[in-house]
């Protein structure tokens, strides 16, 4: 250090767009060892680091970056893993630009330190060498049940296992990982990496039981009889539809169906894998969040010729990460903004053939702070599409809310919990999207960390 830091981040090596739209391999290839050290050396090692406050799980960022600058990669991952059990996942899907990197001093004049990319490098480096399992506290003889194996559940499970508690995770689907396996595509988060980090959680002693639908196979009340505490992290896995005429025509998917078929069921390898997926020539993806970008990019890789994002606001209001929007554009995804579908029209066999839309303009800001879209009179027009993916958001899974008497549920259908994850019922904690509505992987992990501490205190009383 000492020298004036470069204004720009080391560029992330990536697969070329023309090549990557024909495969499901990871787009970002990761820094090389030389690059990672150069990037780490840009860090000014601030006395009062803002980055740490921006991290939902509170990683000692300057400490691990310093280790990397000194080429001590093992030391770096050790620092990270004190706080984060899933670093290879976070190093790929965290919205760093809104968290740690947002507070980096270098960001004022140029680009912030590529903290996410550094985290990814050391996590991958450790995985290649073989992950070490940390020391655990003595066995406590306390039992905790975790419902849902997404980012929140895995975090709670790992933290409590390290503290010496017996932890069982119940997962409804056949594979653990929640949104990490059913939602986020392979080219953004390889399932092998998710598998390896889940393996690490298992090595801590956590038992994962798949195919158990809590609320159906076993109820929360039954779990209460057997466990000292319960954590509910069932996420926001239910799709919203637009509720417009024609939405149940063939060829119209929720983003959840589209991504579950592709990611969890591996439909892109049909017929080697049994689950099919059908994608036509012209695909319309309604919505502009990360899930919409993922769906559009999946459609392209499944062979669609034209893929467009249909969004009722303008590009400025798009909820997706800038990086994802940029990737989508590089790959040739088209953007039809200020456009709102009002009806889906089918052919004689009940297959979608076009979207009837109206053009929109932006009005005053609404309660989300974004300008409200207003239909322009007489602007109706049709867009040809033989496949439509509705990616306008998810809502919380109601299964537990419906089957657990006494659990306080909010008007939005989320489980009510305080900032430490305590619900209205004694011994029952909750966190992640089931309490907040849709958020990010790292926010769910942050909620998981706070809940793990609260649970530890509760059962250690």
């Amino acid at each position: 250090m000492g020298k004036v830091s470069s204004l720009k981040k080391q560029p992330m090596p990536e697969q070329e767009p023309e090549k990557r739209i024909r495969n499901f391999d990871e787009v970002a290839l990761g820094y090389g060892a030389g690059q990672v050290v150069s990037e780490a050396k840009r860090c000014l090692q601030c006395a009062k680091p803002g980055c740490v406050q921006g991290c939902p799980v509170g990683i000692d960022i300057p400490a691990f970056v310093k280790c990397i600058a000194e080429e001590n990669f093992d030391g770096a991952i050790e620092v990270i893993k004190k706080k984060n059990n899933l670093p290879a996942i976070c190093g790929r899907v965290c919205p760093y630009e809104d968290q740690c990197e947002k507070f980096c001093v270098l960001g004022k004049k140029g680009e912030p330190v590529g903290i996410g990319r550094l985290e990814r490098f050391v996590a991958d480096d450790e995985r290649k060498k073989g992950m070490r399992v940390p020391e655990k506290a003595n066995a406590s003889s306390k039992k905790v049940a975790i419902v849902g194996s997404g980012p929140a559940g895995l975090t709670v499970a790992a933290d409590l296992a390290k503290l010496g508690h017996d932890v069982i995770i119940y997962e409804a689907l056949h594979k653990p990982g929640g949104v990490l396996v059913y939602g986020i595509p392979e080219f953004r988060l390889p399932k092998e990496i998710v598998g390896a980090e889940i393996e690490y959680v298992k090595q801590l002693g956590v038992v994962i039981q798949t195919d158990v639908v809590i609320g159906k196979t076993i109820t929360i009340d039954e779990l209460r009889g057997e466990f000292d505490a319960i954590f509910i992290g069932t996420g926001a896995g239910l799709p919203h539809f637009m509720n417009i005429p024609g939405e149940n025509l063939c060829g119209i998917y929720s983003s959840n169906e589209f991504l579950i078929r592709t990611n969890l069921m591996r439909a892109y390898k049909f017929p080697e894998y049994d689950t099919p997926i059908k994608v036509g020539k012209k695909v319309a993806v309604v919505g502009a969040g990360n899930v919409a970008m993922d769906s559009a990019r999946v459609a392209l890789r499944l062979g669609a010729k034209d893929v467009f994002i249909v969004y009722r606001r303008s590009e400025k209001e798009m909820p997706a990460r800038a990086e994802e929007i940029a990737h989508a554009k590089e790959e040739g995804i088209m953007f039809k903004v200020l456009t709102n579908p009002i009806r889906m029209v089918g052919d004689e066999n009940g297959w979608v053939k076009k979207l009837e839309c109206v053009r929109m303009k932006l009005g005053e800001s609404d309660k989300t702070g974004r300008r409200r879209p207003i239909p322009i009179k007489g602007s109706k027009f049709a867009l040809d599409a033989d496949t439509v993916v509705v990616a306008i958001g998810q809502k919380p899974n109601p299964l537990i809310a419906k089957t657990t008497k006494g659990l306080r549920i909010t008007e939005q259908g989320t489980i009510w919990a305080d900032k430490n994850g305590k619900t209205s019922m004694e011994g029952i904690f909750a966190g992640g999207d089931i309490t907040t509505g849709t958020a990010t992987v790292i926010e769910a992990m942050g909620a998981g960390k706070r809940a793990a501490m609260a649970i530890h205190e509760y059962i250690s009383q």
């Binding site: 409804a172 689907l173 056949h174 059913y182 798949t210 195919d211 158990v212 639908v213 159906k216 196979t217 076993i218 896995g237 239910l238 799709p239 539809f241 509720n243 939405e247 149940n248 025509l249 063939c250 060829g251 998917y253 929720s254 959840n256 169906e257 579950i260 078929r261 069921m265 591996r266 049909f270 017929p271 080697e272 894998y273 049994d274 689950t275 099919p276 059908k278 066999n349 009940g350 899974n397 109601p398 299964l399």
Partner: protein, 275 residues
């Protein structure tokens, strides 16, 4: 992993598998279903529950071999294991005393119908059953249905057993002769549609159990969505049973045909490898 403990061949293309699943056996109620996946590369498919044994901790499913997955499943034997089995899913049938009910079952739809008809009988209803199949070899659970029904009628499309014709022929005769309080129909969509059309004219409450394509079966994907009374419902969590007079059967049948080509590809590929 779930072990198959007994296998029966009810007809060359109709198999019954009894599977070790103590948690599900304890919880399942008539009308609910399960999701299975045979192996790592398998698809998730919903199957009905034909019987359960709480003491043995087993459930029994009966299915018709129509495509790759059901043929593959039908080739398994006692001692084989399924990669995945989840359930019980969906809402149970509303069992109460209606009075006089007619239970209509077509093909392997008789399998889930049996548990529901039995529960309706136990709840004090007079149960009249009509079970039908294409031909007599495909007729299942006749003995079981006879035991729990006050009256049992049989139909076959080809006349090889019972009435020569459709279940609706017999249904028509029954509902014109007497007051019926409820009709429960489970079978191919086209049969349920015909039943619904007929009972609507007589204003008889009618329940059907729908069988759309599903993936997760827990409310996540929306593959199984159907229009009921003008609203979109998810069969897996809002159903599988709905008021027959409100279901958009045309839309359901269209959606069931979504993957016909792919189903053919998968089946041909499997048969090439296994014959």
């Amino acid at each position: 992993m779930c072990r198959i403990v007994a296998k029966k061949e009810l007809a060359p293309t109709v198999k019954s598998l009894t599977i070790d699943a103590p948690l599900i056996a304890k919880k399942a109620r008539p009308g609910q279903f399960i999701i299975i996946r045979i192996d790592e590369k398998g698809e998730r498919i919903p199957l009905t529950i034909a019987d359960l044994d709480v003491l043995q901790g087993t459930i029994t499913t009966i299915f018709l071999e129509v495509g790759k997955t059901t043929k593959h499943l039908g080739s398994l034997n006692d001692g084989d294991v399924l990669a995945d089995l989840a359930g019980p899913l969906g809402k149970p049938t509303e069992i109460k005393k209606y009075g006089k009910v007619i239970c209509v079952g077509g093909g392997v739809g008789v399998a889930p119908l049996y548990l529901e008809a039995k529960a309706l009988k136990d709840a004090g209803n007079k149960v009249i059953s009509i079970i039908g199949a294409r031909t007599k070899e495909l007729l299942i659970l006749e003995k079981e249905m006879r035991r729990i029904s006050d009256e049992l009628y049989i139909t076959t499309d080809d006349g090889s057993r019972g009435h020569h014709g459709f279940v609706t022929d017999v249904l028509q005769g029954l509902i014109t002769k007497q007051k019926i309080d409820m009709v429960l129909a489970i079978g191919p969509t086209v049969m349920m549609k015909a039943v619904a059309k007929m009972t609507k004219n007589y204003n008889i409450k009618t329940i059907v159990s729908l069988n759309p394509i599903m993936v997760d079966g827990t409310g996540m994907c929306g593959t199984c969505r159907v229009t009921v009374g003008g609203e979109t419902k998810f069969t897996c969590v809002d159903g599988p049973e709905f008021d027959a007079h409100l279901v958009d059967f045309e839309e359901l049948m269209n959606r069931q045909r979504t993957y016909l080509e792919e189903e053919k590809v998968a089946l041909e590929r499997w048969e090439r490898c296994h014959h």
